[in-house]
Amino acid sequence: MKRYIYILLTVLLTTGISANDIMAQRMKHSSGGRSGGANRSVNGGASRSSNRPQTTQRAKPSTTNRSKPATHNVNPKTSDKSRPSTANKTKPSTANKNKSGNNNRSGNNINVNNRKTNVNVNNNRNTNVNVNVRVNTRHNNHYYNGRRGYSPYYYHPYRPYYYGPRWHPVGFFVATMVTTAVIVSVNSQPYYYDSGVYYVEASGGYNVVPPPVNIVVVEIPDDKVEVSLNDVTYYYYGGSFYSKEADGYKVIVAPDGAIVANIPDGAEEVEIEDQKYVFYNDTYFQPITQDGKDVYQVVAMESAE
């Protein structure tokens, strides 16, 4: 039964004083606070209704009591098996922030197996950004969608894109796993996957980790966008790139030169040679403008030494 229908559109007729904070005082409140007599509280003290709706108790985050979600793609692709395993669940990832030397990101190449893949789980929310890098100027000779070199730098502030309530940034902790999650694995490392987010088990719950390169998932959310680069189509969701495979979507290293409109929460701006880049998930995004819109282009970095 609907208990409340708010008809406070009159609040829209606000004075100039309040325009900035129109969303700040949003809920209909049942009282203006108690007058309180000798009560010196800033609001007269908290009050609770005796007629609250029924609540549910949360089950303890015990994996033994929880039915495991369906398992898919437990076996990594054949090509993955030949890669040296670098999985290390306990050690935060600090390597590979410097992108030089590890990536073959030129042209149409979407073969990421020659990259020194690092699927170490980074449980540390604080991203270790190696700013001792510079834009790889050799890429100025490359062509991106027929255009030579990167697009001109055009700064616009990083605004985290909201991918909905089920999306969480790297480092986010959840006490229980949603029942819609599936288990996916690469290099014998299982991950829980739900709505474009990858989790690993941690003490008392699950931590969000970066999408492991080469892992294959059956679906990525409908919000994914197609990114076309040099006649190759990639898929982008939540700051990560995928290639379409026969059995789903494979996480790949961000294709050099790819252009995207949105970067999720959890990224940070870093200043390199007087220009600001957005760093997210081991990738540097250069702010540019395209067709009058603020977008980002993936750029390769090399060591400043």
């Binding site: 409340y4 708010y6 829209l12 004075t15 129109i22 969303m23 209909k28 203006g32 929310r125 986010f172």
Partner: protein, 238 residues
């Protein structure tokens, strides 16, 4: 002066024309966190904090403001706001509410009585003045959230700016509200309000510089119009 935009119309419509079902999903652990937050605020005799707010109206407009808020129970409040729409001050000393625009050098004072929340409520209802993140200071915070949303759950833990928080998510068909509560203090650290249609409109507020029960002098809440300033009457909302 009346400022009404299409965005506000849509956003407020989405929020206010929300409803609650008795079949809502409410996690007790989330409700407990909200109760604890409300109780903590209710136990404050005075406080001050800084609130940084960012409002996006679609992809094009952004309003950024910083608010310094001082409260002393039961009936003293001062808010200083600086940001996209200019610099303003609000004072309530228990008998008068004053507004001053630093940019226009204009002010108005209104006779007002009651505790802080009563005055916030009156000013909101009569003049449409919204005080930043005032929802947290209503004594019925938890009940108000339960009334407004179909789902209230504990999402998990998150560390923001080196502050460990629990994250509460409340949602209805139109709005997703997230509240970050500081684990150490049970005070609010951040809130965000986004339409669930994933449009780029949003409201985000981050608390900082919390001071608990500081000694705040009377003069902080008293307003004297500066010389050469002009009175410009606050206009009741229509």
């Amino acid at each position: 002066m009346i400022k009404t935009t299409t965005y506000y119309l849509i956003a407020a419509t989405l929020f206010f024309v929300s409803c609650t079902s008795d079949n809502g999903k409410y996690e007790q652990v989330a409700v407990n966190h909200l109760d604890k937050l409300s109780e903590t605020i209710g136990n404050l005799n005075s406080c001050s904090y800084t609130l940084n707010t960012v409002v996006h109206k679609g992809a094009e407009s952004e309003f950024i403001n910083e608010h310094d808020v001082y409260m002393r129970g039961p009936d003293k409040m001062h808010v200083h706001t600086n940001g996209t729409k200019g610099q303003k001050g609000f004072w309530y000393d228990g008998s008068n509410f004053a507004y001053f625009s630093y940019d226009k050098n204009t002010f108005d004072t209104i006779s007002a009585t009651g505790n802080i929340i009563t005055v916030i409520d009156q000013l909101h209802n009569k003049f449409g003045i919204d005080f930043p993140a005032a929802d947290f200071f209503y004594p019925t915070l938890t009940d108000d959230i339960l009334d407004n949303f179909n789902e209230v759950i504990l999402v998990g833990d998150e560390n923001i700016d080196n502050v460990d928080c629990v994250v509460i998510l409340a949602s209805n068909d139109n709005i997703v509200l997230k509240i970050w509560i500081e684990k150490d203090s049970d005070l609010p650290h951040k809130m965000s309000i986004k339409p669930s249609d994933k449009s780029e409109s949003s409201y985000e507020a981050v608390f900082s510089n919390w001071r608990i029960n500081p000694s705040l002098p009377d003069m902080l809440f008293e307003f004297e119009p500066p010389a050469n300033s002009k009175r410009e009457k606050l206009q009741p909302k229509k």
